[in-house]
């Protein structure tokens, strides 16, 4: 069967997330970006929606089952409010979802309940490296077996809440394969950069560089245990998450510029009545919808274990990167000079929009 209609349960979740995005995240977004701070209360309220908790089975402290489709639907709605806020609310997922997808039974039992059963606390992951040719399949950070443990060496970048994270997954190159390692707070040899990352956007989010010098990780903390794990399901879950967030940001920019165009007058008519503007809006709506359904299919394929699911997730993500850039750029263009001013949110969405190409591993569903 084909169906483009979310289940009743998903609709309820979407509604709740949408209310939070509109009445909490969005109003806080501007000041959070300018002041470089996200209020903990705001994050907690989003955490209490239980999106992540509902994707973890009861045996590990949650109350549901993982569904990439549900995760994607929720991420779209949340990013409509604010991207930085969404990444903060979804942060513990960076730690729990790979463990759920690729961890051993012991790892799931040990690490998931403390995250899921408590209030929001930063649990993070370190994937990105500071290099123009960063490649998740060819990490420069290395892991080496050493007397029953692993020693990790290298540098990581864009690590969300690294300074306060209770624990994190560090991805490293083990004999040419990308593998995750669970690293608890305060591990010897782990240094968090003193200053936060300075990025074009996501200023509200505390992101740090990491230095790992002979960080010793017990063999039991290698994701997937002795046998390790396939990185593809983890990357694919990240790709559909980012694509969904890109859809949310683009939709925010589209709706804002559409509403502006219906108010703003020039030459005696609303600018939306000019085909030059109206056609831009029509194309924005079309491109958003195109990537949205592509990503839904990718998420559904992941959930149903389809053969080409990983490839499809990659296509959806790659398409989303371009779409988010184009749509947010058009939104700024429609507002003209006003779009360039930070009083309107479209310039921030344009800065967000450029980032999706770099955000590998910053969200996962």
């Amino acid at each position: 069967m084909y169906s483009f209609e979310p289940s009743d349960e998903q609709k309820m979740l979407i509604d709740a997330v949408m209310r939070y995005a509109k009445s909490d995240l969005r109003p806080a977004a501007h000041d959070a970006e300018e002041n470089k701070e996200l209020p903990l209360k705001l994050i907690n309220k989003g955490w209490e929606l239980g999106v992540l908790q509902a994707s973890i089975p009861e045996a590990y402290g949650g109350f549901g089952e993982r569904s990439a489709v549900t995760g994607v639907l929720a991420a779209e709605e949340m990013a409509f409010g604010d991207l930085a806020g969404s990444l903060a609310v979804m942060l513990p997922g960076l730690f729990t979802m790979p463990i759920l997808l690729a961890g051993t039974e012991e790892q799931k039992k040990q690490w998931l309940p403390p995250v899921i059963e408590a209030e929001w606390k930063p649990y993070s992951a370190a994937m990105i490296e500071y290099a123009f040719d960063f490649d998740p399949y060819a990490l420069k950070t290395t892991a080496k077996a050493s007397g029953g443990d692993y020693l990790i060496n290298g540098e990581k970048a864009y690590v969300t809440y690294a300074a306060t994270a209770e624990a994190m997954l560090v991805y490293a190159n083990l004999d040419g394969k990308t593998q995750g390692f669970i690293v608890p707070k305060g591990a010897a040899g782990l240094t968090v950069g003193e200053e936060r990352e300075k990025l074009m956007s996501l200023n509200a989010l505390p992101l740090y560089r990491l230095k790992l010098e002979n960080v010793k990780v017990p063999a039991a903390n290698r994701l997937g245990g002795e046998a390790g794990h396939d990185i593809e399901p983890v990357l694919a879950a990240g790709r559909v998450a980012l694509a969904a967030l890109a859809v949310g940001v683009a939709k925010a920019a589209f709706e804002y510029s559409r509403d502006y165009a219906k108010e703003r007058e020039a030459f005696g008519v609303k600018i939306a009545q000019k085909q030059a503007i109206a056609f831009m809006l029509a194309e924005m709506a079309t491109e958003i919808e195109a990537i949205r359904v592509l990503n839904w299919e990718a998420a559904w394929m992941l959930d149903s274990g389809k053969e080409d699911a990983f490839k499809q997730a990659y296509l959806a993500y790659t398409g989303a990167v371009d779409m988010a850039m184009t749509v947010t750029d058009r939104a700024v263009q429609i507002l003209g000079g006003h779009g360039y001013i930070r009083e309107h949110p479209v310039e921030m969405w344009m800065r967000n929009g450029r980032g999706f190409a770099m955000f590998t591993g910053l969200a996962i569903v």
């Binding site: 084909y2 490649d135 559409r258 056609f279 194309e283 079309t286 359904v293 790659t318």
Partner: protein, 420 residues
């Protein structure tokens, strides 16, 4: 529940159609491109037989059969339009020009299906199930009225004494027009649906559709176009000079009410047909993309899905972009027809899918030719033909620009007067 699994009947249908597309269509593609206006009788007769046997076919989905309800059997949602979209996509993957001469009524029958009363449907549609293959076509466009259908100048005046409509005008760009209106002993008696005004002072409110049957005196084909692509499909100019049709050949009410409801009703036909026409373009572009990937593979080029963009070669990027465009356009079509099947208003999704598909298939085929270099441009392969065939997708059944206008009005909540 969001789902993307093709329903079983569709999967089965696709399996059969692929063989037809390969053996009856693809094998003859080059021949009929080289011999414009030649009629592929073998294909037409085969399809007619097959469609009569299976009931599959015309653009207008079959009306629901009244079956005794088995209360134990779970109700399956209708999938008629979804099935058609798949069918058109696969046949066009075979050869879109040839698909366009598939008998069964095409857009002409679709217009009757959506605008006629029960008696008219019985009278006009029964012929498609008879022994000989039969065609019908839509006559909308005129020399001075393309996308702007309100500029149509053809007239239909009621001769009250004889109770007949007298139609005058000249129609152009009529797909399958010749096969529909010219008597041919190999074909059944077809018809064209002619759009004309019954009250030129009333503008769009006076616009009506009329069924004009093959052999009607005063109707003649004056020209067959020579085209960039879809050459197997005849595109005719039809002149109507005092052509008389019985009173009951008018689709819709003969009363002119000063509003545009009748016209909007006519336009609503497009909500159903646009995604289907878009689907034909997808078939062409899929053929081009598959060919390109096969040739690349033969030459040792593999596409490394998953790599960051800056690590990909230009060819890899192009292929990945083509796949994204094509798949997302197809999914938008699926959504639009899924909505049609489930009686959800889909004017927005229908036009959006046409905008996206028009762009996507044009770009995909253009890129494919470029990526293949001298091979792409050569007439030894079909790639250059698919490039020419695909272009029509962004033009007929509403150009990309008209569909942008429809989308824009929908998302802005504007009327035609507010956004012109």
């Amino acid at each position: 529940m969001i789902e993307f699994e093709a329903p079983k009947p569709i999967a089965q249908q696709q399996f059969v159609l692929k063989t037809v597309a390969e053996e009856m269509m693809r094998a003859k593609s080059r021949y009929f491109d080289d011999h414009e206006h030649e009629i592929p009788y073998d294909y037409i007769e085969f399809m007619h037989m097959a469609m009569r046997a299976t009931g599959a076919g015309s653009l207008a989905p079959k009306e629901k059969k009244e079956e005794a309800e088995d209360p134990n059997k779970p109700k399956r949602p209708p999938i008629g339009y979804q099935m058609l979209a798949h069918m058109l996509e696969m046949l066009s993957w075979g050869d879109v020009g040839m698909y366009l001469v598939t008998p069964g009524g095409g857009l002409g029958a679709a217009a009757v299906q959506s605008a006629a009363n029960a008696e008219q449907k019985a009278k006009f549609l029964a012929r498609f199930g008879e022994a000989k293959p039969t065609f019908a076509a839509m006559c909308m466009t005129e020399a001075g009225a393309g996308s702007d259908t309100s500029a149509i100048r053809s007239t239909a005046i009621l001769d009250k004494e004889k109770n007949e409509w007298v139609i005058n005008g000249e129609k152009i760009f009529v797909t399958a027009g010749d096969k529909s209106i010219t008597l041919d002993e190999k074909f059944g008696k077809g018809f064209v649906v002619v759009w004309a005004s019954i009250d030129p002072s009333a503008g769009r409110a006076g616009m009506r559709a009329f069924v004009v049957e093959a052999g009607t005196p005063g109707v003649s084909v004056t020209k067959m176009e020579h085209k960039l692509g879809i050459r197997c499909s005849d595109t005719a100019s039809i002149v109507l000079q005092d052509a008389r049709v019985p009173f009951d050949h008018i689709l819709g009410s003969p009363e002119v009410v000063k509003d545009t409801k009748g016209f909007k009703g006519a336009m609503a036909t497009f909500d159903a047909t646009r995604p289907l026409v878009a689907a034909t373009g997808i078939g062409v572009a899929r053929a081009a993309l598959e060919f390109t990937k096969e040739k690349l593979a033969e030459n040792g080029v593999t596409i490394r899905y998953g790599l960051p963009r800056q690590k990909l070669t230009n060819i890899e990027r192009e292929v990945i972009d083509m796949e994204i465009m094509l798949r997302s356009a197809w999914l938008m079509i699926l959504k639009a027809v899924w909505m049609a099947d489930n009686a959800k208003p889909n004017a927005l999704e229908s036009s959006m899918s046409k905008v996206k598909a028009g762009d996507a298939v044009t770009k995909v085929t253009q890129k494919a030719v470029e990526v293949m270099g001298p091979l792409g441009y050569s007439r030894e392969f079909l790639l250059e033909k698919w490039f020419r065939d695909a272009k029509i997708t962004d033009i007929y059944e509403g150009t990309g620009q008209i569909n942008r206008l429809v989308v824009a009005r929908q998302i802005l909540g504007y009327s035609g007067a507010e956004l012109r």
